[in-house]
């Protein structure tokens, strides 16, 4: 369960990215946060992922109030989430395989088990054949898939993706959405942000529209 209770975020300098947002996401839900660039979508996701702290209100993930967690507690929380970053945040001096291994190393998985899981995750996103490649040699869509593989490799209960279809053509965007749909179908809570509304057409998601830092509407698509 993800809960935002009157959660707000004001950055140093005065810019108010989110204004007293209240939102509940049940386990196993597929929620897409939509809105224009600068609406506050990414900020909302960062608050849920514990990458930013709310300056007002509360953010709760699985009953834990993130505002009360210290740095170590937030690190533990982030290990339990799968996060797909807007700018991928891949390591370009490591192979595709090593990038996917990173969360498992962080979670101190035994090496054999970690390797098995990493290959399974790469297989899931269709990149197993490219495991020895450097991420630089991958296309934009493949890099996005690699980022998803890294996010799902530790089998998180919650998957958070910031603009996962940004800069992808329609066909590739649809395949990425299908991937998220497949994770959601096995019980993973998916929370993503996008301004690519056509990409959402084919998947049953709850849409939450944000405008100027406030929730405007919530609607079910497909």
């Amino acid at each position: 369960m993800i809960q935002l209770i009157e959660a707000g975020k004001r950055y140093p300098g005065g810019h108010e990215a989110l204004r007293a947002i209240s939102l509940e996401i049940a386990p196993g839900e597929f929620v897409a946060v939509t809105g224009q660039t600068g609406a506050g979508k990414s900020t909302l996701l960062k608050l849920v992922a514990g990458l930013e702290r709310a300056t007002s209100g509360n953010v709760l993930v699985n009953g834990q109030n993130l505002g009360s967690l210290g740095a170590a507690g937030l690190a533990v929380l982030r290990r339990s989430l799968g996060i797909v970053f807007q700018d991928h945040k891949l390591l370009y001096d490591r192979t595709v395989f090593d990038n996917v291994m990173l969360p498992l190393e962080i979670a101190d998985f035994p090496i054999k088990e970690a390797q098995r899981r990493a290959r399974a995750a790469l297989d899931k996103v269709g990149l197993l054949q490219r495991e020895r490649a450097n991420p630089v040699s991958l296309s934009g869509g493949e890099q996005q898939r690699l980022c998803i593989a890294r996010a799902i490799v530790s089998r998180p209960a919650i998957l958070i993706a910031d603009e996962p279809t940004g800069n992808l053509d329609a066909e590739y965007a649809a395949s990425i959405m299908a991937l998220f749909r497949s994770f959601n179908q096995v019980g993973v809570t998916v929370l993503l942000s996008t301004h690519d509304l056509p990409a959402l057409a084919a998947v049953p998601v709850r849409r939450v529209e944000i405008r100027q830092g406030q929730v405007m509407t919530a609607a079910q698509s497909a």
Binding site: L102, P103, D108
Partner: protein, 299 residues
């Protein structure tokens, strides 16, 4: 327990990978450190050997009381008796002029000179064994012996031993200074190596923290890196010191033989070497911890 061991095994593996990631740079740093670390170790062994030698000499310190060349053996016996009674003298024995000449004949380089002598120009001597080697006692013996009849000259061989001991003390201070400098060098070089490594891996560290790495997880490989690098450089230092001592001993042996002495510098023992490696590893770990402390900060 398994999670703990797995975490440390993984951190060790990553630490070793960091060491291997820049083999030339790492090897150069370790070599520089190894050479620097060899100096205090070798100096320590030089001084320990010198100290042992001076102690040996000190134990056998003697005061030679030379008589007037015209003095007879009876005069020598009287003097021996008088010297035995002096405070601070443990024993006294006569070393006759014939025995002295016999000693000279044994030395091949002096054989021609001795053969050319018409008589025996050497005096009788009485060799004193002092109770201790402290300067005050020895000076007192010297002054009292000098007042006795028939005494021509007193040779106190302990003087140079005393000077040598002072040199040894100075050497010990030099070792301490060298050891302190080496310790600082280890911490600075390893600390700086890790600082550069942190800079090289800043993207990896940032991404790791974003996806849930704790500061401890990020720091741990660097600590292993420091510990291993310190151990390897100390091992290298031991090897350099051993080779240096072996080389020096070949020259020292021939020099000592010229003075009919037996002296060589002791090689580091296994216990000494392993203690040294462990201490340097800990110092290096301290440098690494200090340098990696910046990683405790959140992204």
């Amino acid at each position: 327990m398994n999670v703990f061991l797995t975490a440390h095994r993984n951190a060790l593996r990553r630490g070793l990978m960091q060491l291997r990631s820049q083999p030339v740079g790492t090897l150069l740093s370790l070599t520089v450190l190894g050479c620097a670390l060899a100096i205090p170790l070798a100096l320590h062994n030089v001084m320990t050997s010198l100290e042992a030698a001076t102690f040996r000499i000190g134990t056998d310190a003697e005061v030679n009381v030379f008589m007037d060349p015209k003095a007879s053996l009876d005069d020598a016996k009287v003097l021996e008796s008088a010297l035995t009674k002096l405070p601070g003298v443990v024993a006294a024995r006569i070393f006759t002029k014939d025995a002295a000449l016999g000693e000279l004949r044994k030395r091949p380089q002096l054989a021609d000179l001795v053969a050319s002598l018409e008589g025996n120009p050497l005096p009788h001597a009485v060799i004193l064994k002092p109770a201790g080697s402290d300067p005050a006692t020895l000076e007192q013996i010297r002054q009292q012996a000098a007042r006795l009849p028939g005494v021509d000259r007193i040779s106190a061989d302990f003087e140079w031993v005393r000077k040598l001991r002072k040199i040894v003390r100075l050497g010990e201070a030099a070792i301490l200074a060298a050891a302190l400098l080496a310790a600082i060098a280890v911490m600075l070089v390893i600390g700086n190596t890790i600082r550069l490594e942190v800079l090289t891996r800043r993207d990896e560290i940032a991404v790791s923290k974003l996806i849930g790495a704790s500061s401890r997880f990020v720091r741990r490989p660097f600590l292993y890196f420091g510990f291993i690098a310190g151990g390897l450089s100390a091992l290298l230092g031991c090897l350099v010191a051993m080779v240096g001592i072996a080389w020096a001993n070949t020259h020292i042996a021939s020099l000592a033989a010229e003075y009919s002495l037996q002296f060589n510098i002791a090689q580091p023992t296994w216990v000494q070497a392993s203690t040294y490696i462990f201490i340097v590893s800990l110092l290096s770990l301290t440098g690494a911890a200090w340098s990696a402390s910046s990683l405790a900060r959140d992204p």
